[in-house]
């Protein structure tokens, strides 16, 4: 949709422009590699990528690895989210707890988790567990800070009103604090899901025998640029599908908001 008043380009036209540019890019890429301007060994080429992906789909190879990655992502995401909500709730409810652990949380969050991945693999092995831990370590902080802020920023009038209407602490959490925090959690949901996938892939990339990270890492070790790029494309497609799904989910859960963004 055109946002500025002067811009009157229609949606269809924008879509046409996107497709046109993409097609031009692919044609240029293909031509450049065929004419010998660039070496396909380093940059691969569109037709080779298409062939690679088609082959992966035909043999079912890619689905097995995609399933592994998604499984790690989903398990880690759910556990990380749950943990983030619970700890965020505890911290928001008990001021002292927050004051004691605040520096620790900030320090832990500042630590680059990607660098920790080899340690996680050392501790939890090459399998599912190390990746799930990796994902949790990324997702937890996003959700934790959202929940904490969401509860701290809850409308004072609403809390007072609930108290006057007779809310006990558990009512307050269930009917006021959590719904209020949920809007914050949802607003960071797409970030945290993105982090989850990155966590799983990086974990696999550094030490695993299956999953999309492993597929890319394996192709790299074979100096197979086509395999690396094809793996990235598949991941990209997965992220786009997930993102569309999340947008729908967000719209469903924000039904009470005046304008869904």
């Amino acid at each position: 949709m055109a946002t500025s008043g002067i811009d009157t380009v229609s949606r269809a036209e924008i879509r046409l422009w996107r497709l046109g540019l993409l097609a031009a890019f692919l044609v240029l890429w293909e031509t450049a590699t065929r004419r010998g301007w660039m070496d396909p060994f380093f940059v691969s080429q569109p037709t080779a990528l298409a062939g690679q992906i088609a082959g992966w789909i035909r043999t079912g190879f890619i689905f097995r690895h995609l399933a592994v990655t998604l499984q790690e992502t989903i398990i880690g995401f759910l556990l990380g989210t749950l943990l983030g909500i619970v700890v965020g709730l505890l911290f928001a409810r008990w001021e002292t707890l927050a004051r004691i652990f605040d520096p620790l949380m900030v320090a832990l969050n500042a630590m680059p988790r990607v660098v920790l991945a080899p340690l996680f693999i050392l501790w939890f092995g090459l399998g599912l567990l190390s990746k799930v831990v990796m994902v949790i370590s990324l997702v937890f902080f996003v959700v934790f800070f959202s929940t904490y802020t969401g509860i701290r920023e809850v409308d004072r009038d609403l809390v007072n009103n609930a108290r006057i209407l007779g809310a006990r602490p558990r009512h307050l959490i269930r009917h006021v604090l959590l719904p209020s925090a949920l809007t914050w959690i949802f607003s960071s949901l797409r970030t945290s899901v993105g982090f989850a996938l990155i966590g799983a892939v990086v974990g696999e990339y550094l030490g695993s025998h299956e999953g999309m990270g492993w597929v890319i890492s394996y192709a790299e070790s074979m100096f197979n640029a086509t395999g690396v790029l094809a793996g990235l494309l598949v991941l990209m497609a997965a992220v786009i599908v997930i993102d569309v799904g999340l947008k729908r989910l967000d719209a469903r859960f924000s039904y009470w908001k005046p304008i869904a963004k």
Binding site: N160, N161, I164, L165, A167, H175, W256, P258
Partner: protein, 260 residues
């Protein structure tokens, strides 16, 4: 009673209200008027048990207030509706909190929604309603568990004049039926006279009781018509004389940043 707030950054205390003392009988409609910043809202918060008094005490039915009284209702200046709940869920909330069984609760919620004229809007969310409708829901939510005492903090301040008059009349009708004690905070003297049995005039900060007036205008009243009653103008003039100086004082202080 007195209520002081610590102002840690300025290393001093701010006295919101000081030596305020008055009594309210059961079933009485009392308004508290005063300039902005005189601690009217603070006073209501203290009566509601939302905040502790610094000195003195408040009693409801002879018992000291410590915490929120279960038979008390509060209508906030802003709607304070729960935006993620429907009209029916909002109205039913106090019953849910009090563990009233679902069947009884449903009947009472339906009854109150009908009484505020919002039948058919049960499944709407607050953002889909107009300001007046939201205020009605807030009123129903407060009254559904039939509190003995209803505190109202400038409840109609944000409404346009027409809606406001309608709401005031509705409030009087409901009050006439139930005869609960109402403590109504407003800065609008006309509104206070039209609604109340008694008016407490507060001074500029720190808020003290300046005067108390009994309003003997006949009931039942209509807020739009009672203004033409011969006594209305006389009462207005008398009370306004008291209020005027305080309003000016409050304004001056606000301008100089002395009062919060």
């Amino acid at each position: 009673m007195t209520r002081r707030f610590a102002l840690p950054r300025e290393a001093r205390e701010f006295t919101a209200i000081e030596d305020v003392s008055f009594e309210i009988s059961g079933g009485e409609f009392v308004s508290i008027v005063g300039p902005s910043g005189c601690g009217k809202s603070t006073l209501l918060g203290l009566i509601a048990g939302l905040a502790p008094v610094t000195a003195g005490r408040i009693t409801l039915d002879g018992r000291g207030v410590d915490g929120v009284h279960p038979r008390l209702g509060f209508v906030f200046q802003r709607d304070a509706l729960f935006p993620w709940k429907t009209v029916a869920q909002n109205v039913g909330l106090p019953l849910l909190f009090r563990g009233v069984d679902a069947g009884t609760a449903r009947a009472r919620v339906a009854d109150w929604i009908a009484r505020i004229g919002l039948t058919g809007f049960e499944r709407y969310h607050p953002h889909q309603l107009s300001g007046g409708m939201r205020k009605r829901v807030a009123l129903a939510m407060t009254l559904v568990h039939e509190p003995e005492i209803v505190l109202m903090d400038e409840p109609f301040g944000a409404l346009d004049v027409q809606t406001r008059n309608l709401m005031e009349n509705d409030l009087l009708d409901i009050w006439a039926q139930f005869r609960r004690t109402v403590v109504f905070v407003t800065h609008d003297l006309e509104e206070a006279i039209a609604l109340s049995d008694r008016i407490v005039v507060m001074t500029a900060a720190p808020g003290r009781v300046k005067a108390v007036y009994r309003i003997t205008l006949p009931r039942p009243r209509s807020v739009t018509e009672i203004r033409f009653h011969p006594d209305f103008g006389r009462l207005y003039e008398t009370i306004w004389k008291d209020l005027k100086d305080e309003v000016r004082l409050g304004y001056e202080r606000n301008r100089h940043g002395l009062a919060g």
